[in-house]
Symmetry: C2
Subunit: 193 residues, 2 copies
């Protein structure tokens, strides 16, 4: 998505340790009209599939998923990173290692909201090592639902998450894939979609 690549080049900040900060428009402050365009792009890429539910994970995936869901006209379900006292016992769960936060999360989703009749599109804002997406895919498999695809806003193509998920035969499409990142340069992978 050219507009996304241009926005990353304009507003993204590269920090030591291959950290890309896009918190001015994507995952802290959110540019809503721009993220709506991202939602439309996900619909262009996945709208032909029988998606009846969008699955994401708290927190920064929720806004993107909700704005995208308007174009699919389906509900969003978001997995939660820690057991909440307000959540039923009947939960699907998995574990996700967050390298950003340097800890392992228990990720949970109520069985009431994901089951064998569901055709799921996973949406998230970022993919690096793929741990979050793999955790959501594990939850989908445990639920008996059908995974229709994974849509990611920004993929760090120099980390192995995307490769791992594509090697599983999953339809993963990232709107921008960063091929290389140094402290003062970014190069994007050419996309054929």
């Amino acid at each position: 998505m050219k507009a996304l690549e241009e926005r990353i080049l304009k507003d993204g900040q590269v920090r030591p340790g291959h950290i890309l900060k896009v918190d001015s428009f994507l995952n802290h402050q959110m540019d809503i009209p721009f993220i709506n365009e991202i939602g439309k792009e996900f619909h262009r890429l996945f709208g032909h599939k029988p998606v009846n539910k969008i699955l994401t994970i708290e927190a920064s995936g929720i806004g993107v998923a909700c704005l995208a869901a308007q174009y699919f006209n389906v509900p969003v379900v978001f997995a939660k990173k820690s057991q909440s006292l307000n959540i039923d016992g009947e939960m699907l769960s998995t574990k996700i290692v967050s390298y950003t936060h340097k800890k392992t999360y228990d990720v949970i989703l109520s069985k009431r909201f994901l089951g064998p009749d569901d055709h799921v599109l996973v949406i998230d804002d970022f993919m690096a090592n793929g741990c979050a997406a793999l955790g959501l895919i594990d939850i989908i498999q445990k639920s008996g639902a059908t995974l229709e695809g994974v849509g990611i806003v920004i993929e760090k193509g120099f980390q192995d998450g995307g490769q791992k998920i594509r090697d599983m035969g999953i339809d993963l499409k990232s709107l921008a894939i960063i091929e290389e990142m140094t402290d003062d340069s970014l190069t994007f992978r050419e996309l054929d979609y």
Copy 2:
């Protein structure tokens, strides 16, 4: 908001300990067209004010804030519940006690995204004792921004958060206020807006 009261009566579940579960449409699975109507209602109530930013807190406030923000045509900024390694040092911060999760959070917001020129509408999905909203109000005060109002989807009117915030002279409007809640009944406060 009558449609919200009806939806709570239809799909809400009351659990021991004055817990109201609305996770089938609001804060775990999200009914996007319905939450869009909630967003329009917030705009009806606050759209006459010079709001240039919507502030919420992760996680379940984000979806409501993003859908509502479309009607205000302003960005959303969400406060984060724990220091992320991807976040700048230059942070506004406060502490919030979560009775749901039985712990105290450090809540942080980048100073780059809230300052004296901002006119802020706070949006969140729930209010009980008001700790989350009071924390966001504290952050707004520290930033020098102007608080234009607080919009809450569901307020537990039998807890004291709403009263505390209205007593501060803040324009707090909740779309549904639960006056009384027992294990088998719900009554709503009559609203004049």
